[in-house]
Amino acid sequence: MIEIRFHGRGGQGSVTAAEILAKAAFKDGKYVQAFPFFGVERRGAPVMAFTRIDDEPIELRYQIYNPDYVLVLDDGLLNVVDVFSGIKDNTEVIINTQDFEGSGEHVVHSIDATGIALDLLGRNIVNTIILGYFAKKTQLVSIESLIEVIKETFPGKIGELNAEATKKAYEMG
């Protein structure tokens, strides 16, 4: 089983990202589960979301404490919450940042998803973009399924633009 934890801020689409990833993996033939950190979501406040992916039906019904992957949508959170909490030796962390330098203790990938978002979407919304990078780096989900689910989730022009931005991040992975 693969366990993924998302860190973001309320309004950035972390929960949507967790669900899109689950739906894409489901299209690839996997069993999936995605859920938010249950609580009162406020715009701008730190939030978490979780995705589980497996070849077997998933029967775990508690939060993810020891993730295999951590996706951080906003590097400002690094000063606010411990995004490395509970990570394992082989956990990989992907951070949306322009200037983060890894501490050397953990496997950290950085991608300037904000740059892609501002360039292609005109807004700093990075939830689908970071998934594109994740898909390439991990090969846990196909880019085809990811793009399909993004277009289903956001019909019309917004979906097209998000798909394009996600593909760009995939190529950078």
Partner: protein, 382 residues
């Protein structure tokens, strides 16, 4: 038939759509809200040919549900927590008037202190209302049970309303794969409701639920007891019929590796999933352990429980509710009716995450005989 990734709330709304209710009175409350939103959308899109009644409170929602059901039509409603508390008075009227509709409860803690997270105190507090209560473990079971609940409630031997209890957030806000049946097999399984006994019809006026003096009231309540006893067999029959058409098997209870188990966990709802994984892990270490999932809490399926636990030594009963001064409701029922050494554990109140460590702790304590009959798990001591 299609398979999609969705929340249990959407699965329940899909079940309600497939059941073709004619009246849907509903009032939103976290974490039930998306059920009421999906149903409003389905009615607006004409996917359901129903009257969607917007009401000013849950007391009105349930009152409208009873009134509509008393005219002999199929009715669906849903609520949670404080909403169910506000319905309390009318829940008894619904059962006493023998209106066989279905209510989905997104299980959530009760104030005070204010808490929107999951436990099962809200529905447990309604256990004596005369409703059937079935607790579900995942989104698929939420959908399937909602469909079965109509068939069970509408059975002439039962004619009591049903509450489908699904854990708030843990199920209502978690997406997972769900199979949505086609309308045709659902119609075959669940034909339109046809009220044949007492119902309101202008052409044949009668009144329902009016004064019953001491010469009659006792008999009316006894009839409800008989109906609840009858529902045991009806639930099993309905589950069998459902399995024949849809291929998914359910029962009053679901035993897992209980046959040779020395210790059996007993629990309700989504928690059973995690326990099953822990049972497998303990079995790998040579521990003889099993799980008995209670689906039907009312009626309380004593024979089915007896059969499942007959070979074991001890029961570890986990409750997400508390009856202050005595223990969890499931634990006290087990103690009253099942002649085994049973130990009670209170866990997960107000959304406290029930981790594998918590379940291992329940097992270890049960194995070594707990100091107290009822133990609170995960309690911070300071």
């Amino acid at each position: 038939m299609i398979r999609e990734v969705m929340t249990a709330n959407k699965a329940v709304a899909e079940a309600a759509r497939l059941a073709k209710p004619q009246v849907i009175p509903v009032y939103p409350i976290t974490p039930q809200t998306t059920i009421s939103e999906y149903l409003a959308q389905y009615v607006a899109d004409e996917k359901i040919d129903a009257k969607y009644v917007k009401v000013e409170s849950e007391h009105s929602a349930i009152s409208a549900a009873v009134g509509a059901s008393a005219t002999g039509v199929r009715v669906f409603t849903a609520t949670s927590s404080q909403g169910l508390m506000l319905m309390h008075e009318i829940l008894f009227a619904a059962a006493g008037m023998r209106t066989p509709f279905v209510l989905a409860d997104a299980n959530r803690a009760i104030s005070a202190p204010l808490n929107i997270w999951n436990d099962q105190q809200d529905s447990i507090a309604q256990r004596d209302a005369g409703w059937l209560q079935i607790y579900v473990e995942n989104a698929q079971e939420a959908l399937d049970t909602t469909l079965m609940a109509y068939k069970i409630s509408e059975n002439p031997k039962v004619l009591l309303p049903s509450m489908v209890c699904l854990d708030g957030f843990i199920l209502t806000h978690t997406v997972e794969p769900v199979e949505i049946p086609d309308q045709e097999p659902v119609d075959e399984f669940l034909p339109p409701y046809k009220a044949e006994h007492a119902f309101l019809d202008p052409k044949n006026p009668m009144s329902i639920g009016n004064l019953a003096d001491p010469d009659y009231y006792l008999e009316a309540r006894h009839d409800m007891q008989v109906a609840m006893e009858n529902s045991i067999e009806v639930i099993q029959q309905t589950c069998d019929e459902f399995a024949e058409i849809f291929g998914r098997k359910y029962g009053l209870v679901e035993p897992y590796k209980t046959e040779d188990a020395e210790i059996i966990f007993v629990a309700m709802g989504s928690l059973c999933s995690t326990i099953r994984v822990i049972v497998d892990q303990l079995r790998e270490k040579g521990e003889k352990v099993g799980l008995l999932k209670i689906r039907a809490y009312r009626p309380f399926p004593v024979e089915a429980i007896d059969e499942a636990v007959k070979n074991c030594d001890k029961l570890a009963v986990i409750d997400k509710n508390v009856t202050f001064g005595i223990g969890g409701a499931l634990y006290t029922d087990i103690k009253a009716k099942i002649h085994k050494d049973a130990y009670g554990f209170i866990a997960g109140l107000g959304g406290r995450d029930i981790t594998p460590e918590a379940i291992f702790e329940v097992y270890e304590k049960t194995k070594n005989v707990p100091e107290k009959e009822v133990t609170w798990i995960g309690l911070k001591e300071d």
